[in-house]
Symmetry: C2
Subunit: 517 residues, 2 copies
C-alpha cells in the first residue's frame, strides 16, 4: 500500500453503528492530488453531486455535466406548475394544489441508510417520519371477500392468532416432542399465548383480548354506552384461501421498519440541498455523447440540448461517470471490454408511479387511514397515503399505484392520461370515493424517462461481474458510480455509497506517486 | 322520549368511521336550556374544558373551578423553567434545554381516538407521528444474554421464523391432518414460508432472506466491499428461555398501531388550545371543598389557594364534576350513596415517569434508534426515545422510565433526585453512554401529584357499578365526567367522550319540560 491510501479513506467516526454499516462517517480525502486535479463528473444525480462536493472539498477542479435542466436525477419531485416530457414526447403538466407533490423516484429513507441521513444533516434537509406500515390500511384481492378490502389489522391479528393456536395444539398434544425439549414446551405455549393473543385454553377466539389487537366491532367510549363490542375473527380457512397473508411482511425488512423518513416538502429537497453546494460546478442541458479515456486524460463530448450547435469537447485528468448503463450503452466510450459488456447487458427495471390528487383527504376523514400503504392484486399494486399534512383541509395527493413487471407493460402501452384514468378506476374498487373526489393525476413510467430509461439497474450476473466493474483498473482514468454499482440498488444510499467508494479509488490514484504499485 | 332528546345528541357526521366509533362528530346541543342555564364545571382538565366549551356554545352560563394555577390537569408538559411540587412538598425545577420537554401524563394519541383528534383539528393543535414501535430499539432482561440488550428486530424475526418452521414441519409430517384440511395444508405451508421467511425446505436459517428482516451482520453498501454479510439467527431454545418474546406484541394494540400522534411541542399544547377558548370562564387556584346538590341547585365551596381567606360559595343550576374520585372522596358531597360508594372505593393507579435529559442524542448517533421504545425487566420498565427533533444537535430528553405496580412503590419511597439517580443507573445497563451524557432529570410519581393522587381510576367492580355512576339520576343536578367514567381509562379520549355524554345528559334535563318522562 502506498502512503496515504489506507489512512485516507474515511475518518473513522465515533458512530456507534459503524461496526455494521458500510458508511463510516464523512469521507476524508487527505493529501494533494499530484497526478492531475481536473475531474469531470458525468451526471448531477446524488452520486454525481456527492462526488463533486467531496472532490472539490479535497482540492480538485471539478466540472459536472448534466442532461437535465436541473439537478437530482431520480431524486425527483413533481409539484404544481412542473411539466415533464417523456421519450414519447408526451408532456404532462402537473396541476396539484400548492404544497402537494409526488415523488416519482425514491420516496423513503430507511433508518440505516446512514450516508443519506448524514448528508441530509450536513446539508440541512429537514426530515419527517414516513409511515410505512398502517394496520388500519387495507389488504385487497378482487377474488377474496367478494372484492371487499380488509383491514390489515384483521388479517395480521387473525393470521397470527390461528398460527399460534395450531402450534400450541400440536405442542400440547405431544406432536412436537421430538422437536421441542420438555423444558421448552411450556415456555413455547406461554409465548404463543402472548404472541397470538390466545385465551387460557390456547384458543384464538372473539374476546376483549383479541379485539384490542384486531379492533373492536364498536370502539370503547365514555359515559353511557361506553363499553366496547368485541369483533369476530375470521376463520382460518377463509383467511388462508384469501391469500391476503401474502402482504403481512411487506413493511418488515430493515429497509421499511420504523423509523423511516422522508424530507419535508418532497424528496428533491435532498437534490436541491446538494445543488446549493455544487450548482456553480454544473453545466445543465448537456447531453454527453462520448467519453474516451486516453492515457493520462479523459475526453468527453456533449451537445447543448438548449442551443444546439456543434458538440462541445472537454478534457480532464479523471472522470466519475454516474450515467446509468441504460444511457451509457448508447454513447461512444472506450471502457475496457469486461466493463463494456456489463454496460450493454444491464437491464433497467421499468416501474411506474401514479400521483393522484383528490379534493379532500377522504382516506383520513372517512377511513381513519393516516399514512401507510394499502396492497391490492389490482394492476396498481398499492396505494400509499401521504405521510405529511395529516388532518389538513384542501386537496391531498396519493401514490395511486406503484407498478412493476407485467402490469407495467399494460400501463406503458397507454398514454399517461389514459393510464391515470385506469389508476382511478382500479383505485375506486378499494376507495369508492375516488370518482367523485378525483382532481388530477400524473403518471411516470420509468422506461420512458429520458435521462434513465428505467428505474434501476439489474445485473445479469452480479456475483460474477460486480467486482470487475466497480474497481478502477490500473489504466483507468474513469471510475463508475451510481445505485447500479451497489448492493442497495434503486436506493439513494446505494448511489451515495457507490460514489464515495469511487472517489476514494480516484483519490488514491490521483495522490499516488506511482511507485510501489 | 321528549322532544329534542333523540335528535339532539350528535350531529350525525359524514365520518366514515362513525359506524365503529363512539365519537360521532362535533356534538350539537340544540334547544334552549329552560330549566336553568347556570353550570359549574369542577376541574379544568380536558373533560372539564370540553364541557365548558360546548355548554357555553349551547347558551349556558358556565364557570369553571380549577385547583391548579393553569389548565390541563393530567394533560401536562414539563419544560425548562417549570417547577413542580408534590404532596411531600418536594419541589423540582426543570432544567431542560429550551424546546425540550417531558409529558408526565398522556403522551400519545391513537388514530382511532376520534374525539381528541377532532378537537385538535378544531382548536388548531399541530400533530406529528409518535413512533411507538422501533425494530432497532432493544429488548433487555438482566438474566438473558448476559444482560446484553438485544435488538427488537432480532427477537421478532427469529421468534416468528422458528414458530413458522415448527408449524410447517408439523403440518408437513401430517400431525395436523385433523385440524387442517388437505386443501389448506399447502396454502398454510406457503403462507408460513412468507410469514416466517423460511427457505425452500421450510427452514429458518442464516440467509440473505432472513437478514433482510433481522438485519445483516454487515449492511449492504456500494462500490467495492458493497456485498452485505448475512447475520446468524438465534436458536429457538435460547430465544424461548430468554423471555424476550414477552414484549413482541407491545405496540400492536389498536391504541398503539401506526399512525399514532403527539402534539408538536408537548402534550399540553392540547390543554393550552382548550384554555385559549375557555380561559375567561376559569377560576384558578380554587380548591373545591364541598359540592352539595339540593333540589334545583348545586352549591359548591372552594378555598382560594393563593390568597387564603374564608371559603367562597357558588351556586348554580347544574354541575359537571370532573374531579378524580381520589380527590372527590376527600370532599364534602351528597352524591347518592351508590355513587358515593364507588367514589370511595375507586383505586388510583400510581405510575411514575422519568424525564431524563442528556447532552447529546446518543441513541440516534450511536445506536441508530429514532423514536420507539426499549423494554426491560429493570424497574424502569422501558425507555422511550423522543419522536421529534430527530438528528438534532444539542441536548435530548428521554422518557427514562415508565413504572407501575411494585416497582412504583420502590421509587415512591425515594426523593425525586434519588429516584432519578436510580433511573440513570438502571438505564446505563442498556445504554452505557448514560453516566457520561446525563444532564438533568425530573421524576413524577402520580400518587404524589396533588391534584389527582394517582394516574387513572380503577374500578372495584366496573361491570356492576359503571352504569349507575355515569347515569344522571332523575333527582341529580350533578353529572360526573372524566377518564375514570369511560372504557378508555387513562386516555384523554376517555375524558372527552365521558364529558360529551355527561353534558348530553345534562342538556336533556335542562331543556326538558319535565313532562312525559
Amino acid at each position: 500500500m502506498t502512503a496515504g491510501s489506507a489512512a485516507m479513506y474515511y475518518a473513522m467516526a465515533s458512530l456507534g453503528h459503524a461496526q455494521d454499516s458500510t458508511y463510516q462517517g464523512r469521507i476524508s480525502l487527505t493529501g494533494e492530488p499530484t497526478n492531475g486535479r481536473r475531474v469531470l463528473v458525468l451526471g448531477a444525480g446524488l452520486a454525481g453531486m456527492t462526488a463533486a462536493l467531496e472532490l472539490r472539498d479535497a482540492g480538485y477542479d471539478v466540472q459536472v455535466l448534466e442532461y437535465r435542466e436541473k439537478a437530482g436525477g431520480r431524486c425527483w419531485t413533481l409539484r404544481s406548475g412542473d411539466t415533464y416530457t417523456d421519450i414519447d414526447g408526451v408532456t404532462q403538466n402537473v396541476d396539484f394544489e400548492d404544497g402537494n407533490y409526488i415523488n416519482p423516484g425514491p420516496w423513503r429513507i430507511p433508518y440505516n441508510h446512514h450516508g443519506v441521513l448524514d448528508y441530509c444533516k450536513r446539508l440541512g434537509v429537514r426530515l419527517e417520519p414516513f409511515i410505512q406500515k398502517n394496520h388500519n390500511a387495507y389488504l385487497h384481492r378482487s377474488d377474496a371477500f367478494g372484492g371487499e378490502p380488509q383491514r390489515f389489522r384483521h388479517v395480521a391479528t387473525d393470521y397470527r392468532g390461528h398460527v399460534a393456536e395450531l402450534l400450541a395444539k400440536a405442542t400440547n398434544q405431544g406432536m412436537l416432542d421430538a422437536e421441542v425439549t420438555e423444558a421448552d414446551r411450556e415456555t413455547l405455549i406461554n409465548s404463543l399465548r402472548t404472541f397470538g393473543h390466545l385465551n387460557d385454553d390456547n384458543a384464538y377466539v372473539e374476546s376483549d383480548r383479541t379485539s384490542q389487537y384486531r379492533g373492536y366491532a364498536r370502539e370503547a367510549g365514555g359515559g353511557r354506552d361506553g363499553a366496547p363490542v368485541p369483533s369476530e375473527p375470521m376463520d382460518f380457512e377463509t383467511l388462508l384461501q384469501s391469500d391476503l397473508w401474502r402482504w403481512l411482511s411487506e413493511a418488515e425488512t430493515t429497509s421499511h421498519q420504523n423509523a423511516i423518513f422522508q424530507p419535508v416538502g418532497g424528496m428533491d429537497m435532498i437534490a436541491q440541498a446538494f445543488a446549493r453546494e455544487v450548482d456553480d460546478l454544473i453545466t445543465y442541458n448537456a447531453r454527453v455523447i462520448s467519453m474516451i479515456q486516453n492515457g493520462d486524460t479523459v475526453t468527453v463530448q456533449y451537445e447543448d440540448r438548449e442551443n444546439g450547435g456543434d458538440p462541445v469537447e472537454m478534457t480532464a485528468d479523471w472522470c466519475v461517470c454516474t450515467i446509468p448503463f441504460s444511457i451509457l450503452g448508447q454513447m461512444d466510450h472506450n471502457l475496457p471490454s469486461a466493463k463494456a459488456q456489463v454496460v450493454d447487458t444491464m437491464y433497467y427495471e421499468g416501474a411506474i408511479k401514479f400521483g393522484l390528487e383528490f379534493n379532500r383527504r377522504f382516506w383520513e376523514e372517512d377511513d381513519s387511514i393516516y399514512g401507510g400503504i394499502t396492497y391490492t392484486d389490482l394492476p396498481i399494486s398499492l396505494i400509499s397515503y401521504p405521510s405529511t399534512d395529516y388532518f389538513s383541509d384542501g386537496k391531498g395527493v396519493l401514490l395511486g399505484g406503484y407498478v412493476w413487471g407485467a402490469n407495467a407493460y399494460q400501463f406503458n402501452a397507454m398514454q399517461p392520461d389514459e393510464a391515470v384514468r385506469w389508476a382511478v378506476e382500479y383505485g375506486s374498487r378499494i376507495h369508492p370515493q375516488y370518482p367523485e373526489e378525483f382532481s388530477s393525476g400524473v403518471c411516470v413510467s420509468w422506461h420512458k424517462v429520458p435521462w434513465t430509461l428505467g428505474c434501476y439497474g439489474i445485473w445479469q450476473d452480479k456475483e460474477r461481474d460486480y467486482a470487475g466493474v466497480v474497481e478502477m483498473g490500473p489504466d483507468d482514468r474513469i471510475v463508475l458510480a451510481g445505485e447500479h454499482l451497489s448492493y442497495l440498488p434503486a436506493w439513494m444510499e446505494g448511489a451515495i455509497l457507490s460514489s464515495l467508494d469511487a472517489i476514494a479509488q480516484l483519490h488514491v490514484r490521483a495522490t499516488d506517486s506511482g511507485a510501489g504499485e
